[in-house]
């Protein structure tokens, strides 16, 4: 399946891109993270990440389908 991945805040810097299309053979969001960390090793330093698919928050066990837009956001803690 083809997915569009969007990186927010510092994840853009860690991934080296804000937006990309990937061809993915796995099933869940957490599997996808494993794949993305291989192509963008900087993401290994990302800490906690929140996931949204098609502009809605999902859990890491959520299943993906062709054409999904996956957004990765770091939860901010400062203030």
């Amino acid at each position: 399946m083809k997915l569009r991945i969007m990186y927010f805040a510092k994840l853009r810097d860690l991934a080296g891109t804000s937006d990309e299309t990937v061809v993915y053979g796995g099933q869940t969001v957490s599997d996808l993270m494993g794949t993305l960390m291989k192509t963008h090793p900087g993401l290994l330093n990302a800490g906690k990440i929140m996931f949204a698919v098609n502009e809605q928050f999902v859990s890491p066990s959520a299943k993906l389908k062709d054409g999904d837009v996956v957004a990765l956001l770091p939860p901010l803690n400062g203030g």
Binding site: F8, A9, K10, S18, G47, K48, M50, F51, A52, E55, Q56, F57, S59, P60, A71, L73, P75, L76, N77, G78, G79
Partner: protein, 260 residues
């Protein structure tokens, strides 16, 4: 420009809990009007953490005419706070933030009632310190305090406006127990490595931006205007605001049906 209100909108009651003239600029707004201003002037907002976002929010709440503000913060003002924490002046360095903030806010609005607690909020004191709040404003700077606020808000059925910021980015979410999702519903962590504004860096305008956004949500809740639990990510680098739908998670460990 100050818009003069038609006399009919100013003569609703003899005794009003606030100085109408002072607020006529915002009473002119249809969503606020006289009725809304009365709601604001009788409202009690608690601000937990009066640092970057919290001090900007406190100033907006005070000026807009909120009746009672509770300020909760354990810290004293540091010189390194002055570039971003708008309530404090050079002469406040070394003074408890709750004292410096309440002096400043009282000078801005003499009608304001202020309750101040020089405490770090935690599970053991949260319900006592937040007693009577119509809204809790989250100005904290770490995952653990936000988790505590989220749990207390859900338990006491008190609306919470979460704001957070670091670097060029901010995040804002309303939590209305029984109506919207909570922080745990969307996977916001209960704990984790805290990256503070002073170590990671913070672009000061993002704090005012985030606070204005959060105060806007709080005022809408106080005025009973519709507010969703959507999550807003504010980005001052790319000049974008992204809204992400945040539905109630039935299996949420804090607010879900299986948590009771």
């Amino acid at each position: 420009m100050v818009m003069l209100l038609p006399f009919s909108r100013l003569s609703m009651e003899d005794k009003l809990p606030m100085n109408i003239n002072r607020y006529r600029g915002q009473i002119a707004l249809e969503e606020i009007s006289m009725e809304g201003q009365k709601k604001l002037s009788s409202a009690h907002v608690s601000i937990v953490g009066i640092g970057g976002t919290g001090s900007s929010a406190a100033e907006l709440f005070s000026r807009i005419g909120i009746g009672t503000l509770t300020l909760i913060d354990p810290d004293v003002v540091a010189e390194s706070d002055l570039h971003r924490q708008v309530l404090y002046s050079e002469s406040d360095v070394g003074t408890p933030k709750v004292d410096a903030a309440s002096n400043r806010l009282r000078a801005e609005n003499g009608d304001l009632t202020i309750l101040k607690f020089r405490n770090r909020l935690d599970e053991s004191n949260a319900e006592r310190l937040l007693l009577g709040s119509d809204i809790i404003y989250d100005g904290t700077d770490n995952f653990e305090s936000r988790d505590t606020l989220n749990r207390v808000a859900v338990r006491t059925k008190t609306p919470l406006v979460m704001t957070s910021a670091v670097d060029y980015y901010g995040q804002v979410k309303a939590i209305i127990p029984g109506v919207t999702s909570c922080l745990a519903c969307i996977g916001y962590p209960e704990e984790g490595e805290n990256i503070s504004c002073s170590t990671m860096g913070i672009f000061p305008p993002v704090l005012s931006f985030v606070a204005a956004f959060g105060v806007n949500l709080a005022v809408k809740i106080l005025l009973s205007l519709p507010v969703s639990g959507d999550y807003y990510h504010l980005d001052m680098k790319s000049l974008t605001v992204t809204k992400i739908t945040a539905r109630i998670n039935e299996r949420c460990p804090v607010c879900g049906s299986q948590s009771h």
